[in-house]
């Protein structure tokens, strides 16, 4: 047997690849990470796009990142700092607005202006979701339970989960069924009457999917967003100090401290196969690097149809891979501005604005959101889209020059498959950017004049630049049929693949996308549980 240079090669230096590398290196394995781009982090990356402005280019807030990883890898020592978002603000075009705060009574009074009943129900809803999320957390921190497995260990686990579920009581069982089957707007209708409250709440259900708030299955994704945890405070979201890329950098620094080698500017062309077994990789420049195992942090389609090749896979597997849905639906507009934005419906006070210290949702009604989806259904971007705005420089002045700000806009819908064809996105790019800026201008008169720099990322750009297939931000939609033991393909949800010694560790595996690190960590644990390294 030829000697292997490495125990493991990780393809892709996204945060999951890095987490996986760090865990493997910590266990004493000789690890090499190969990243295509010049910077690490994948979709969790910071770049100084304009002098003095450090943008979280793609992902912009963190919540689901597993606290266990922070402790295991001692990420605080490697420079990870998080700043919790403090509120959730929804401006309305008619001059009214809703802001949800960390303090219950303050939020209650805000909601009561729209519905007294909703104001009282709001904490009950939060409680029910927190209970469900606490239960679901167990699923996120461990490999997906597989109901099709007959292994004693798996059966035990299913039984235990079943018992835990039952112990939550019949109300919770019913809630669970509702979450799995309903649309997010329908689910919220069961609890609330005010559109102004429901609209910004419902959007959690559609982020990263090509579905509308009235599409069944979106309720479940709501829960995904209640599972976040920062400093033991559940369902809170935070900024990473210095931009999201600092999280990836901290993980990379931890990985290096355990001896991992990390190379940027090293695109992998294909996986080196011999007798149906992965033996290493071939870089685009022709270099061959050998290792005992290869772990792909790249999405399933790129991994198998790109780097392995159909010829080496069974038809059934290929068919299922093709059926796995990407169809990206979102874009990002990153702006550098010379002053703090000011919303007409809630003006700033002497240059300070408490309500801008959290996230801002342009989601004035369910109707608005559904209309935005309608345009996308027919192959166009939304003229008046849902926008999730954050201004990280308010909490973390280090990301922008003094007095200046970064306005980050996550935008939906921007369907990958526009009617002209995805490759025509570059021609539509600026029009899409204009739609976003024009929308904001309606709420913040004068906003346009404050813009110093603008970057528009369409789903096409996300694919071309960041390697996200069809621009899907999560390496495949987070819809119930693509989660748990079915992610990415049923039978292959435990990080192993049909190719021996080839593993997966990216967002296309359980528990899925978002800055979570869980796929990377669980993959490393699965690998270390075998003798392959």
């Amino acid at each position: 047997m030829t000697t292997k240079q490495y125990d493991a090669i990780i393809v892709g230096g996204g945060h999951n690849g890095l987490v996986c590398a760090a865990y493997l290196a910590r266990a004493g394995r000789k690890v090499l990470v190969l990243e295509r781009r010049h910077v690490l982090g994948g979709a969790a990356v910071s770049e100084e796009l304009h002098p003095g402005f450090h943008f979280s280019v793609c992902s912009y807030v963190v919540s689901l990142f597993r606290p266990r990883i922070i402790r295991d890898l001692d990420l605080a020592r490697h420079g990870l700092e998080m700043l919790p978002l403090e509120s959730s603000f929804t401006p309305l075009p008619d001059g009214r607005s809703l802001c949800r705060w960390p303090e219950w009574h303050r939020t209650r009074r805000e909601i009561a202006r729209f519905s007294k009943r909703d104001a009282d129900v709001y904490p009950e809803f939060g409680m029910a979701m927190a209970k469900m999320a606490f239960f679901a957390r167990e699923l996120v921190d461990q490999p997906a339970p597989d109901p099709t497995s007959l292994k004693i260990k798996d059966l035990h686990r299913l039984l235990r989960l079943g018992n835990q579920m039952r112990s939550l009581g019949p109300d919770m069982m019913q809630l669970n069924m509702q979450l799995l089957t309903m649309s997010s707007s329908e689910f919220l209708d069961l609890w609330f009457e005010s559109d102004v409250l429901k609209a910004p709440m419902s959007v959690s259900g559609i982020i990263g999917t090509f579905l509308g708030v009235r599409s069944p299955g979106t309720a479940y994704v709501l829960l995904h967003h209640y599972m976040g945890e920062i400093d033991g405070a559940f369902r809170s979201w935070g900024f990473v100090k210095g931009g999201t890329g600092q999280l990836s950098n901290a993980v990379a620094s931890a990985a290096r401290s355990f001896g991992a080698e990390i190379r940027a500017d090293s695109p992998v062309e294909r996986v080196l196969l011999h007798d149906g077994e992965a033996q290493g990789v071939v870089l685009e420049n022709g270099d061959e690097i050998r290792a005992k195992i290869v772990v792909s942090g790249v999405d399933p389609r790129r991994t198998f149809l790109g780097m392995v090749g159909e010829d080496h896979l069974e038809d059934e597997f290929v068919t299922r891979l093709r059926r796995y849905k990407y169809r990206g639906s979102s874009g990002k507009v990153n702006l550098a501005v010379d002053r703090l934005p000011e919303f007409a419906c809630r003006p700033n006070e002497n240059g300070r604005a408490e309500h801008l210290r959290g996230d801002i949702a342009i989601a004035p009604s369910i109707e608005y959101l559904e209309k935005a989806y309608d345009e996308a259904k027919y192959g166009d971007f939304s003229r008046r889209p849902y926008i999730n705005v954050v201004i990280p420089s308010v909490l973390d002045p280090s990301v922008a020059p003094p007095g200046k700000h970064i306005v980050s806009c996550f935008v939906q819908y921007a369907p990958y498959h526009i009617k002209e064809g995805a490759q025509y996105w570059p021609e539509r790019r600026e029009a899409f950017g204009d739609a976003v800026v024009d929308t904001l201008e309606e709420y913040c008169p004068g906003f346009k004049d404050s813009i110093l720099y603008r970057q528009v990322l369409t789903p096409w750009d996300l694919e071309q630049e960041f390697g996200l297939t069809e621009g899907n931000i999560f390496h495949g939609e987070l819809s119930p049929e693509q989660l748990l033991f079915q992610r990415p393909v049923s039978g292959w949800a435990h990080y192993r693949t049909p190719i021996r010694r080839l593993w997966m560790c990216g967002s296309g595996t359980h528990p899925g996308g978002g800055i979570m690190g869980a796929p990377g960590m669980l993959a490393a644990e699965a690998i270390l549980g075998t003798r392959e390294t």
């Binding site: 700043l83 919790p84 303090e103 033991g232």
Partner: protein
């Protein structure tokens, strides 16, 4: 009834959370908003501005000022250079701690002392035979603390003092908004930070100058609750919380020596006589029986303990001060934790504790009491190095080799 500080016109306007407490007889803000977290973030990520007027201040001057302070303090004040500041403590004749604070050498024979407790009587009592004047300047001088990574940049906007060159625990005389001010590179957060001292009449203009210059740098008014978390991260001991001034102790056992309080490094034994010298010499020879240490509470055990009750781990975001017993792994009580906090910076649950020797070595595994659902449990806590949080910027000087 506490009195307002000279900054009250501004602080009361900003304190919309109406969370106040009594600090040395002054109205002091706990947090400006309903909770202290944004203020903590300002301290660690931009800059926090805090009214610290209630600190007791004494101006000591005269030909014997140096000799007098050297006799009073456990540290040899004669070694302090003009413009330099030192942190130290002072004891009674038995070598028991009375208080801790800073001593600044303003000029050859002019000093300022800051203290947590009123100390004039003790100072005067011991000034017998020295040609010194001691003035309690607490109410005459207003002070703010400006702490955080942007503190230096903000001060540069308002003062022409050489902020880049001002070293850790040194002072600079300057003018801010046309009025005399002293900037000291001191603070209680364990971070880059300064304190600014002016005449009480100049308090409001100083506040305004700093707030407006600080705006682009994310300055925020900050209260005591945020400071408390920073203080634990920095591993600083606090009079009245982690130790008691010998003046207030009914029983001997409550008193501490500097060696027990982790302040042994401030004691200069071999020199002219000073108060408590003999007792401290003996203590140094024998070694203290107790030690002030940092503890890190094990998260996994904390989380598992809650999970046994079906609960998520419940973290309090503010620092705690209710003492908790500390045990050896065999279950013998070997000390007490007197304050602690979850550190959002370090992602660790920290505590400050006093434990008996030999349980104080870094890495020693101990147990701390933890109550869940009204039931007392013990979970693992490990002795760790203080300060827990110690960024290089705390001492950095710009333009000088690191």
């Amino acid at each position: 009834m506490p009195i307002p500080s000279p900054f009250h016109a501004r602080t009361s306007e900003l304190c919309t959370g109406l969370r106040w407490k009594d600090w040395s007889g002054y109205h002091a803000v706990c947090s400006y908003g309903p909770c202290h977290e944004p203020e903590y973030i300002a301290f660690r990520h931009s800059a926090g501005l805090m009214d610290v007027t209630p600190l007791h201040k004494y101006d000591v001057s005269g030909p014997d000022a140096t000799a007098f302070l050297s006799r009073l303090m456990v540290k040899n004040i004669a070694k302090l250079k003009v413009g330099q500041i030192t942190y130290c403590c002072w004891c009674d004749e038995d070598g028991k701690l009375l208080d801790d604070g800073t001593v600044w050498r303003l000029d050859e024979n002019d000093y300022r002392v800051t203290a947590a407790e009123p100390s004039l009587a003790w100072f005067q009592h011991n000034a017998h035979g020295f040609t010194v004047s001691i003035e309690d300047t607490t109410s005459r001088i207003a002070a703010v603390s400006i702490q955080g990574p942007n503190a230096r940049e903000i001060l540069k906007q308002v003062s022409d003092a050489d902020m880049d060159g001002l070293r850790f625990f040194w002072l600079a005389r300057t003018r801010i908004d046309g009025r005399a001010a002293i900037i000291t590179r001191t603070g209680y957060t364990g971070d880059l930070g300064y304190e600014v001292w002016v005449d009480s009449e100049d308090a409001v203009p100083l506040w305004d100058a700093l707030m407006s210059a600080g705006q682009p740098y994310g300055i925020m008014p900050t209260g005591l609750d945020a400071l408390d978390v920073c203080r634990v991260e920095a591993g600083f001991i606090m009079n009245g919380v982690d130790y008691y001034s010998a003046n207030h102790c009914i029983i001997e056992n409550r008193k501490s020596t500097p060696y027990e309080a982790g302040l042994g490094w401030t004691v200069n034994l071999e020199r002219d006589p000073f108060i408590g010298q003999q007792a401290l010499r003996l203590e140094k020879e024998q070694g203290p029986v107790r030690h002030f240490v940092g503890l890190e509470i094990d998260w996994d055990e904390f989380e598992r303990l809650h999970a046994r009750y079906g609960l998520p781990p419940e973290l309090c975001s503010s620092a705690w001060r209710d003492p908790k017993p500390i045990y050896s792994t065999r279950g013998r009580q070997v000390g007490q934790a007197t304050s602690g906090a979850w550190s959002p910076m370090l992602k660790r649950s920290l505590a400050l504790a006093t434990v008996d020797g030999p349980w104080h070595e870094v890495g020693q595994e101990l147990q701390i009491e933890c109550t869940v659902e009204y039931v007392r449990h013990r979970i693992k806590a490990t002795v760790s190095k203080k300060p827990f949080f110690d960024p290089p910027r705390k001492r950095s000087v710009i333009g000088a080799p690191a």
